[in-house]
């Protein structure tokens, strides 16, 4: 009995589906026992098949549903408990497992778990979270504590966009604020030159100490593109230089506002510029 297992079955349905057709065809004509099992993340994978392939398909679908809460509990126990027949000393095993038991029944843990699963309740998410917790287990106590789980949760909940904004230099923040102002005026497409015009207008109005030349601003602009905080609006005009290609912001005003507020070294004028339209 030969079993063919095709993973990511939907990728086989691209193009002419020659492999699928010949495989399913061979199964019908040959006398040997063989089975083709396809695994896919797409619910409509069988709809992607061509007519001739679908007619040879047996239309049997097995649906794997996401975990219920009971299953989740069983999964956690399976992942966290040490097996009783392992080679470790038995009193350590008992201590570890009873500790895990206490944690699993703790309310705070249930809260953390709910928050974690609210965003993504797939098994890989839980695995990653538990791996981070286990790796931060303290070597002296050799037990998993709730603090480990809490710190793993905070690592899990990083927001890359806000981190990137914290890393931007002051000049880069100026450019982002200028772009935000241009977007809030509903200019459809704007280029680096328009951003520079806005920047110069702000410098003329406020006379800050951050007045830099065009080449320095262009370098900061290119940094922002590298970090993917802004990007080119379309890829067609690739031959033009950076100054003339239309760009757009990849973050929302809310994120920009939040990060400016939490940035200690950000000049107060930037927050004001975000809020107010005119140069007051």
């Amino acid at each position: 009995m030969i079993i063919f297992v095709l993973e990511e079955f939907d990728l086989f349905t691209q193009g002419k589906q020659r492999l699928l057709y010949s495989l399913l065809d061979a199964m019908q004509t040959l006398t040997s026992h063989s089975v083709v099992i396809g695994i896919s993340c797409r619910m409509d994978a069988d709809q992607l098949l061509e007519k001739r392939v679908r007619s040879r398909f047996s239309h049997k679908k097995l649906l794997f549903t996401p975990l219920t809460t009971d299953d989740m509990q069983r999964l956690l126990e399976h992942l966290l408990y040490l097996p009783t027949d392992s080679s470790l000393p038995s009193d350590y095993l008992k201590e570890f497992n009873s500790n895990i038991n206490n944690i699993l029944s703790d309310n705070k843990f249930k809260e953390i778990l709910d928050l974690l699963l609210a965003a993504d309740n797939s098994i890989s998410n839980i695995q990653r979270f538990l791996y981070q917790a286990i790796s931060s287990m303290h070597f002296q106590t050799e037990l998993l504590t709730l603090d480990d789980l809490k710190s793993a949760f905070s690592y899990h909940q990083r927001q890359p966009m806000l981190d990137k904004l914290q890393d931007a230099s002051i000049l880069e923040l100026y450019i982002l604020v200028c772009m935000n102002r241009l977007e809030s005026r509903e200019q459809d497409s704007y280029t680096f030159n328009s951003v520079m015009k806005e920047y110069k207008a702000i410098q003329d109005a406020y006379k800050t100490s951050d007045n830099y030349s065009k080449s320095v601003c262009q370098r900061a602009f290119e940094h922002l593109i590298e970090r993917e905080l802004i990007s080119f609006a379309n890829n067609r005009l690739r031959n033009l230089s950076v100054e003339y290609r239309p760009v757009r912001l990849l973050l929302s005003s809310q994120e920009l506002y939040q990060s400016l507020k939490s940035n200690a070294s950000c000049p107060a004028i930037l927050q004001r510029l975000l809020n107010y339209e005119t140069y007051r």
Partner: protein, 535 residues
């Protein structure tokens, strides 16, 4: 490089290893930032180099201590399986060097493949397989020779075979070890650097999921994979639910970290730290990247040390004040430079002596930057200017600007020009947004002929009492001009744009900016501004 009998090696050629040993003799100012380069580290992982302690690791990489600890705890102790890691952070934040140094400290076998040097899938696959082969050899097993692969499917098969062989070889070697040799563990680690470049490759839709799901596809518990990327993890979300790598974030360096980094390996720490206290904060507002800051600091530090006769002096407050005053004017101009290229004029000044006052130096520097640094022939300059004019002016203006006699000396023509200019108020806005337009070859040559005939007549008028002969041949439309056109294209002053599908003629774009055009015009006394359309 094979040494053959009787054929002497020319003295200019150096092997890579010899040039690395020379690097330690360079003066302190030019010492590279890290004491070891990547190449040495990579050689080290194959041969047994002496490993470093944890303190050396954290002290050699200032500011990266929390990240190193995070990596260490996620990799775990010897022989513990791990989930894949993704280290991400901005450029020049020390990701690659941290990982490589960490592995030197851990002394575990690893394979390093950078997606910048291995720029297509075939090279990436072959590099990984070759390094695994070296590990097999080191672990004592003979190998069956290099394997090459082209397709991802072959790569997976060959990789699985190689990995299993390496793991078995390592296990056998560890069993046979005495107590004096260190146990390098049973695990092997793959490090992929610059993973964000994968998305720009041709076959990115297959390569990116392949590499990111490598651990799941291979299912070898002794394999650990680490990805290093400049983009954040949300650039790599695959919608097919595999185990995503665990992200480790490398933030940019803070002010204190930068101070620590720049203070390393300085011959005179006091002097340099007083220099940094002046210079670091203003530059920190512009950029935080170490490579850009070091490029900017290097010439500034030389200027800072200029007045000091004896560099090993201990500084007091008055001295520091003096040095700061000396540096102050250069600071402002350096903040507005992207990089400082020493021009020919400034080299001359250096040779003549250092007795210039700072005022004079500044004015000299300004003048030097107003002139062209390289030499171009007259016709090339005219060609470049005509390209600039063609790019900046809308085509409909040509009739009013140029006529067969050249120039806009005619008052009636001037009036016409003014009225046509007034009608085109939106043009300047558009030009500012869309950039200089493209122009066909015929228009470029027409403008070239017009301005050179003007120049000829002007030169004849002004200089006819002088003796020097004017080369009329330069200004006629000969094949020389077309040759120079292609030379300009090669030098990237002009570039070919898309050709019009109806006419089929090629169009060009001018890539120089106004500053350079003004310099060129000034060098031949050409009135550029009278030809340019300005709002």
């Amino acid at each position: 490089m094979a040494k053959e009998e009787g054929i002497p090696l020319s003295p200019g050629r150096k092997t890579r290893s010899s040039s690395f040993s020379l690097s330690s003799s360079l003066p302190q100012n030019h010492r590279t930032f890290f004491s070891h380069t990547h190449l040495e580290l990579l050689h080290g992982h194959c041969h047994s180099e002496e490993s470093i302690s944890l303190d050396t690791l954290t002290s050699s990489l200032p500011g990266r201590k929390p990240q190193i600890h995070e990596i260490l705890r996620l990799i775990g102790p010897l022989n513990s399986p791990m989930l894949p890691l993704l280290l991400y952070g901005g450029p020049s934040t020390g990701k690659t060097i941290s990982v490589l140094q960490t592995f030197r400290y851990l002394n575990r076998p690893f394979v390093y493949a950078g997606c910048r040097t291995c720029y297509c899938p075939r090279i990436l696959f072959n590099s990984v397989l070759r390094q695994l082969l070296i590990h097999e050899k080191n672990a004592g097993k003979g190998s069956s020779g290099a394997r090459r692969c082209e397709k991802p499917s072959e790569f997976i098969d060959l990789l699985r075979i190689s990995l299993i062989q390496v793991v078995n070889a390592l296990r056998e070697r560890n069993l046979k070890l005495g107590s004096e040799e260190s146990d390098r563990g049973n695990m092997i680690y793959l490090i992929f650097d610059n993973v964000e470049l994968l998305r720009l490759w041709d076959k990115s839709s297959t390569i990116v999921p392949l590499l990111l799901r490598l651990s799941e596809i291979l299912k070898i518990p002794e394999l650990g994979i680490i990805y290093i990327s400049s983009s954040s993890p949300d650039a790599y979300y695959l919608c097919t639910g595999s185990i995503e790598p665990i992200p480790v974030y490398f933030p940019d360096y803070s002010l204190e970290d930068l101070h620590g980094i720049f203070m390393r390996n300085q011959s005179n720490p006091n002097l340099y730290s007083s220099f940094l206290s002046v210079v670091l904060k203003p530059f920190y507002r512009v950029t935080r990247r170490v490579d850009e800051l070091s490029v900017a600091f290097h010439p500034l530090f030389e200027k800072y040390c200029d007045p000091l006769s004896d560099q090993c002096l201990v500084l007091d407050e008055a001295m520091k004040r003096r040095l700061f005053d000396n540096l102050q004017p250069h600071l402002a101009s350096s903040l507005n430079d992207v990089f400082w290229v020493p021009s020919w004029a400034s080299h001359q000044l250096k040779q003549e002596g250092e007795h210039r006052q700072k005022r004079f130096w500044k004015s000299i520097r300004k003048e030097a930057s107003n002139e062209l640094d390289f030499h171009m022939s007259m016709s090339v300059k005219y060609l470049l200017l005509s390209a600039f004019i063609a790019a900046r002016n809308p085509a409909t203006l040509d009739a009013s600007l140029f006529d067969s006699s050249g120039g806009s000396n005619n008052p009636k023509r001037k009036r016409n020009l003014q009225t046509s200019l007034d009608k085109k108020d939106n043009m300047a806005e558009e030009i500012l947004l869309k950039g200089p337009g493209s122009f066909p070859l015929e228009r470029l040559l027409a403008i070239f002929q017009c301005i050179t005939s003007v120049a000829e007549s002007m030169v004849e008028d002004d200089h006819f009492e002088n003796d020097f002969a004017i080369e009329n041949e330069n200004f006629r439309l000969t094949s020389d001009v077309l040759l120079q056109l292609s030379a300009l294209c090669n030098a990237n002053f002009l570039c070919k744009s898309g050709s019009c599908p109806l006419e089929g003629s090629t169009r060009y774009r001018c890539t120089i900016d106004e500053e350079m055009a003004v310099k060129v015009a000034r060098s031949i006394n050409f009135p550029l501004s009278s030809y340019l359309y300005r709002r």
